[in-house]
């Protein structure tokens, strides 16, 4: 093992864990993971990946912290209101674990910067709100042959699936973005704060397990839970022959332009 004494102590619960071990921990320290969105899902993902010692964590978000975010976006604190989310997130991640190099992108993820950014990472976590972003992330990851975790939450519900090249992607389940305003967003319909933590933590576990190479990923399965009745189920999904050859000309604007 190339871990120093402090790292052996810091990561001891992973190192003694069968399936991770010192080897898995070294893989984590060498890994590069991109988190798209520093909000409800991105917050727990960023905290757990930093705590786990993922060596390089990229985080992209163009927003600033708003008071209405604090009910669920647990990486941001009251004094952070008005600060760029990526700065607020980076500060907490480094406070948890100075081993981690946090790369911030205070911008939107678009088809113009997508492939350049993705090239630097091994795994991608989708923590975005809009369908345009979700379809863009899907297409970009498929084109760049990058594995990623999809996540979505609304009201008391959450859903997530993991794509690695060759398995079903988000478009295999949801072919095209829904018509604008057909689907309410969290800012319109509300979201139960703990659902963001539940789903984001599942996404973090997928990212970490992908890097370590342990267990069975959530591929070709869509995990859906209803936190109102506290029921979980997985639906098998099949890869389809979509043949994503390039970006679409347009990714619809976000369905909701309400004040956040």
């Amino acid at each position: 093992m190339n871990l120093n004494d402090e790292q052996v102590e810091r990561y001891s619960r992973h190192i003694i864990l069968q399936g991770v071990g010192g080897e898995g921990q070294e893989k984590l320290l060498a890994a590069k993971i991109l988190i798209i969105g520093a909000g409800g899902l991105g917050a727990p993902v960023a905290l757990y990946l930093a705590a786990a010692g993922v060596g390089t964590i990229g985080i992209i978000d163009a927003d600033v912290v708003d008071i209405s975010n604090l009910q669920r976006q647990v990486i941001h604190f009251t004094p952070d209101i008005g600060r760029p989310k990526v700065e607020s997130a980076k500060e907490k991640m480094n406070a948890i674990n100075p081993d981690v190099r946090v790369v911030t992108y205070n911008e939107l993820f678009t088809k113009n910067n997508a492939l350049d950014i993705l090239a630097n990472y091994d795994f991608v976590v989708d923590g975005t709100d809009s369908f345009s972003a979700k379809f863009l992330i899907n297409d970009a990851c498929v084109l760049a042959k990058k594995p990623f975790s999809h996540g979505g939450i609304l009201r008391f519900d959450g859903q997530t699936m993991t794509h690695v090249p060759g398995t079903a992607s988000y478009r295999c389940v949801f072919k095209e973005p829904p018509p604008a305003n057909a689907v309410p967003t969290c800012s319109q319909a509300g979201v139960f704060g703990a659902v963001a933590g539940m789903l984001g933590t599942i996404q973090a576990a997928e990212a970490i397990r992908y890097i370590v190479g342990v267990g069975e990923l959530l591929t070709n399965r869509l995990l859906i839970f209803d936190a109102l009745r506290m029921r979980f189920r997985t639906v098998r999904v099949k890869p389809s022959e979509l043949g994503i050859q390039g970006f679409r000309d347009s990714y619809d604007p976000p369905v909701c332009e309400l004040r956040r």
Binding site: A38, G42, D129, F131, K134, G152, V173, K175, A182, A196
Partner: protein, 69 residues
């Protein structure tokens, strides 16, 4: 006849189309649902013409945004 909707057994009248089943289940905005029938995602253009048969497994998969804002 008996079918499975979202993993749960349900008794419905015979010969409903997918569109009728969505209405029967009071899905208010069918545009926000992707339908999987017996393991395969059904193209939206076939919702009106596809009949649900006894023993079919139907999953209503909802678009879910949320997370960032």
């Amino acid at each position: 006849m008996i079918i499975h909707i979202n993993g749960e057994k349900e008794t419905i009248e015979a010969s409903l189309t997918v569109t009728q089943l969505l209405a029967h289940k009071q899905v208010k905005m069918p545009d926000m649902v992707s339908v999987e029938l017996n393991g395969d995602i059904l193209e939206r253009q076939f919702f009106d013409t596809t009949i649900i048969n006894d023993g079919d497994a139907v999953e209503f998969l909802y678009f879910m945004g949320g997370g960032q804002v």
